[in-house]
Amino acid sequence: MIEIEDLTFQYRESDAPVIEDMSLSIPSGAFAGIIGAAGSGKSTLTYALNGIVPHCYPGDFYGSVRIDGNDTCDTTLTDLSQMVGSVCQDIDSQFVSAVVEDEMLYGLENYGVPHDQIEGRVQEALEAMGIADLRQRLIASLSGGQKQKVAIASILAMRPSVLVLDEPTAELDPASSRNVFALLSHYAEAHGTTVVVVEQKIALLSEFTDLLVVVEAGRIRFAGAPEEVLAHSEELLEIGVNCPRCTTLMNRLAAGGLYAGPVCTDVPSACRALCEVAA
């Protein structure tokens, strides 16, 4: 359970708050997506969740963020990291090893996981991301999608109850992006992990998330189930968030009084709705 209450944060170097008056509650086991224009404060919001703000970046911090009841300001970063696993935006700077296996071991060794459990955890996390065959490979020799999976697996091995990912598919093609999301959501469901993911591809968010948060200039503009949020396709477009085209189309039909059904978030449902309208 993540509870953000009246959060305002301003970096010491910046002259205006990057996050203003945010309140949000993410239930345990939820798959939450964050979307918004560049510079709207999405990464900073993830820092507030994993404690990098305020522990690593100094600034003015008002309000509170609680993870399973622990206030992030009163908990050390090292303790927080055991609850909240983070995959950062620039994964190349996250890697500490040359070989996949060593990368997997790093967090487990540090947190003192008993040595007889380490092998099982490494294998499980690699399998969850479908990369058991990459174990002995050099990280530098992997494709972007494979690297991303290694970065995620190395965090999953620590079994965090909350997983925060900042634009994990930014450099991936559509097929590998979808694959990463499918693996993540499968893992999260099986382990009851809460996932918070910053993502620009709205189609992925509407397919996989059960809570969609739209951020505009440091404030939450919309938060709710994807169908609720996507009903506002015109406003979303104004703040630089493109809805799937089928959603925009059906919303326009609805606005014109030609369609009265639920919001369509994918092509098959839009297709069915269109057939009904035509009939």
Binding site: L80, S93, V96, A98, V99, E109, Y111, I118, L138
Partner: protein, 255 residues
């Protein structure tokens, strides 16, 4: 230059040695090269270095390294040649002369630098950085913080070189001609590029420090490491060889 100082996977004898052994041997080897000016001994050392490189199929990388060292040592050699008037007179110079011993000194310098560099560089190619730092923590009780700092520094060298190449390519595409003109012009063109490189480097090291911290960096102790790095018979044999080589070099220099 791609793969510069980056681990090359393999299962050769050198790959399997304890990382501490490899570093210790490489250092003793390098010191030995600097202890004596005996040309025959240095040539033997160079041959040994090349044999080591061949034993782990690292000849291509080693020859690349030797070419780089050659360029550097030739400059030194020429300086020596012009400034040490020793031995039988060969060429008159306005300020002295080039003698037969000057030539010997120049050759010794080149061979010595080449020989000393090979095992040190080989160590990085046949050892994973993580193993190097972990074994230093386990075997030599080096505090993890220092080992990690060292490992990250080496880890970042190829990243920086990559960034530098990226920036230079972008500038070349905009019409900056790095391959024209002399050394001074080239340096003048490079200096302004160092600022963005420095900024991006600082940002990268900063975010990787944070990434390490959220993965429990602060909790790490000597007991944390999962892998063991026992010293085997082969390790002690290699260290003994290093000691013998070093002793021989010292003996030669005293004779």
């Amino acid at each position: 230059m791609d793969g510069f100082l980056e681990y090359v996977p393999g299962n050769s004898f050198l790959h399997r040695l304890n990382p501490v052994t490899k570093i210790a041997f490489a250092i003793m080897f390098a010191i030995a090269c600097f202890c004596t000016g005996n040309l025959v001994f240095l040539c033997l050392m160079l041959a040994l270095g090349l044999a080591l490189a061949a034993s782990c199929s690292m000849m291509r990388q080693t020859l690349g390294l030797m070419r780089a060292v050659l360029a550097f040592s030739l400059v030194l050699a020429v300086l020596l040649l012009l400034t040490t008037p020793k031995g039988d007179l060969l060429v008159e110079l306005p300020w002295g002369y080039i003698g037969s011993d000057s030539i010997l000194a120049a050759v010794v310098t080149v061979i010595r630098l080449e020989a000393a560099a090979i095992p040190l560089f080989l160590t990085f190619y046949v050892t994973k950085m993580t193993d190097l730092s972990n074994s230093f923590v386990k075997v030599l009780h080096v505090p993890y913080r220092y080992a990690f700092t060292f490992a990250s520094t080496v880890h970042f060298i190829p990243v920086f070189m990559n960034d530098m190449r990226g920036i230079m390519e972008a500038q070349t595409a905009r019409g900056v001609e790095f391959d024209q003109g002399g050394m001074v012009r080239k340096i003048r063109l490079m200096v302004p590029l160092c600022v963005p490189l420095l900024i991006s480097s600082v940002r990268k090291t900063n975010s990787s420090a944070i990434a390490a911290e959220v993965r429990g960096f602060n909790l790490r102790t000597r007991e944390s490491g999962y892998k063991r790095y026992p010293m085997t018979g082969a390790d002690w044999a290699v260290i003994a060889l290093g000691v013998v080589v070093l002793a021989a070099a010292i003996a030669l220099s005293l004779l």
